[in-house]
């Protein structure tokens, strides 16, 4: 089982590769959809601007490949911007996301964040009933200016807090996404990635 990491050239994938190797996996970095093989789940990391990432998804033919594979049942894990790309759209841009889970990406509500600053940069404890995350509680490192807003509350996998509670992880069948960075969240990140991937051995 080799996790397939989609390299959109947005953000640094080194940290995620390093953490996966530390866990004993051998991730395959794929710059083009033709390189993708079916030996493991798709991991979609990303940092930066929504529209820029979408244009790369389209220009390199990733959109069609990902939607086809995922619709046929291939698991996918989106991280940070990668999670946002799984949704329909974002306040940050005008282009369409992959639409694999219904929802949009919205700006933090300034009237509710109190003296917290944007971007949300730092650790936040999450609340979740999923066993993908360690018990009794887990915290993760977040870096983002926008957060998910789901159409179906049942697609919410975890919530975090920054002035107010917001959806920070999503899941519907074989589609999973986390707003936070497991690869920057030491033992909590290691636990999550290991739990997620060990399901596919």
């Amino acid at each position: 089982m080799y996790p397939q990491i989609v390299d959109l050239s947005v953000g640094n994938i080194n940290s995620i590769v390093r953490m996966l190797r530390y866990l004993g996996y051998e991730p395959m970095v794929r710059a083009s959809p033709t390189e993708l093989d079916d030996s493991g789940p798709i991991i979609l990391p990303g940092v930066g601007s929504f529209d820029y990432a979408v244009s790369i998804l389209d220009d390199r033919g990733w959109r069609e490949k990902i939607v086809t594979e995922v619709t046929a049942g291939r698991p996918i894990l989106g991280i940070c911007l990668g999670m946002q790309l799984l949704l329909n759209s974002s306040d940050e841009g005008v282009l369409q996301g992959l639409g694999l889970i219904d929802g949009s990406v919205v700006k933090f509500d300034h009237s509710k964040i109190g003296k917290n600053k944007i971007p949300h940069m730092g650790w936040s404890w999450i609340s979740s009933t999923s066993d993908l995350f360690p018990k009794p509680r887990a915290k993760y490192y977040h870096v983002h200016k926008y957060h998910a807003q789901l159409v179906n509350p049942s697609d919410e996998l975890a919530r975090s807090h920054h002035g107010y509670a917001f959806t920070s992880a999503i899941q519907r069948n074989n589609v999973t996404g986390v707003q936070f960075h497991p690869e920057k969240s030491h033992k909590f990140g290691l636990y999550f990635l290991d739990k997620y991937l060990s399901g596919f051995q």
Partner: protein, 256 residues
């Protein structure tokens, strides 16, 4: 959540501590220090090379790569960054954020290039402040050993820098640095009020109360140097972090 970030000062590949930016004192091997902080599961790490800028050296990329490989939390690096090439190399070494200071003495174009390519969240601007014997609080720039544009009373440059895409400001009070006597709370308040992005406050932490005071003043994080370095009875150096009780207290700092 409020962040407590150990800051390591490198000089010639070794770890040092300074007092008011002077009298560097050798501490030990940086890789060991990073390993210890990784084991203690610190929030984040800042590594600053204090010799690179002064001696016009490039960053020590090989060492930085080794340091980054030791930790699974965000690492920020600063010191000797002069060009986009330096920045590209640093990110490929595994650094999460880069910290710019002396490059600002000339112009802000490097900031714009970095934030466009890597995103605002990857860019920290470091500003050091000091109080001369006479006169108003001034900004100190290590490359030119003198004033940057602007002074503490007029913080317009903070907004100007934000426009270039700065993600966070690292604000250091030189007068308090290394002394463990408390931070410059007025400075932190003034900058936190002016800035719409998170502020990391540095310089002078000597107790948990100092950390709390920085949070109340509006900082989103503190960068800690000397307070985490303990000189044992036989002049042995011990690297420390917050104890469990202090870590629990940090969680309550939000919403103050």
């Amino acid at each position: 959540m409020f962040r407590v970030i150990p800051q390591l000062l490198l000089s010639g590949g070794e770890l040092y501590k300074t007092t008011k930016f002077k009298n560097p004192k050798y501490i030990g091997d940086p890789i060991n220090a990073i390993r210890i902080f990784n084991e203690k599961e610190v929030d984040e790490i800042i590594v600053t090379d204090i010799s690179a800028t002064k001696e016009r050296l490039p960053p020590n990329f090989a060492l930085i790569e080794d340091l980054a490989a030791e930790c699974f939390m965000p690492m920020t690096y600063g010191g000797g960054i002069r060009s986009m090439k330096d920045v590209d190399l640093l990110f490929s070494c595994g650094i999460e954020k880069i910290c710019i200071q002396s490059a600002l003495a000339n112009d802000y174009s490097l900031l714009r290039d970095i934030s466009t390519k890597y995103g605002n969240q990857s860019l920290v601007v470091s500003l050091d402040f000091f109080k001369p014997l006479f006169g108003k609080l001034k900004i100190y720039n290590s490359a030119v050993h003198g004033k940057l544009k602007g002074s503490y009373k007029d913080l317009q440059f903070i907004s100007n820098l934000e426009i270039e895409g700065v993600g966070e400001f690292l604000i250091t009070s030189v007068d308090h640095e290394g002394c463990r006597n408390g931070m410059d709370i007025d400075l932190i308040s003034a900058v936190a009020k002016k800035s719409s992005v998170p502020i990391i406050a540095a310089g002078g932490i000597g107790s948990f109360e100092d950390i709390r005071a920085a949070s109340v003043a509006g900082a989103s994080a503190v960068s800690v140097g000397t307070y985490f370095v303990f000189y044992g009875s036989r002049k042995a150096v011990l690297i420390n972090y917050l104890n469990q009780e202090q870590i629990r207290k940090v969680e309550f700092l939000d919403g103050l």
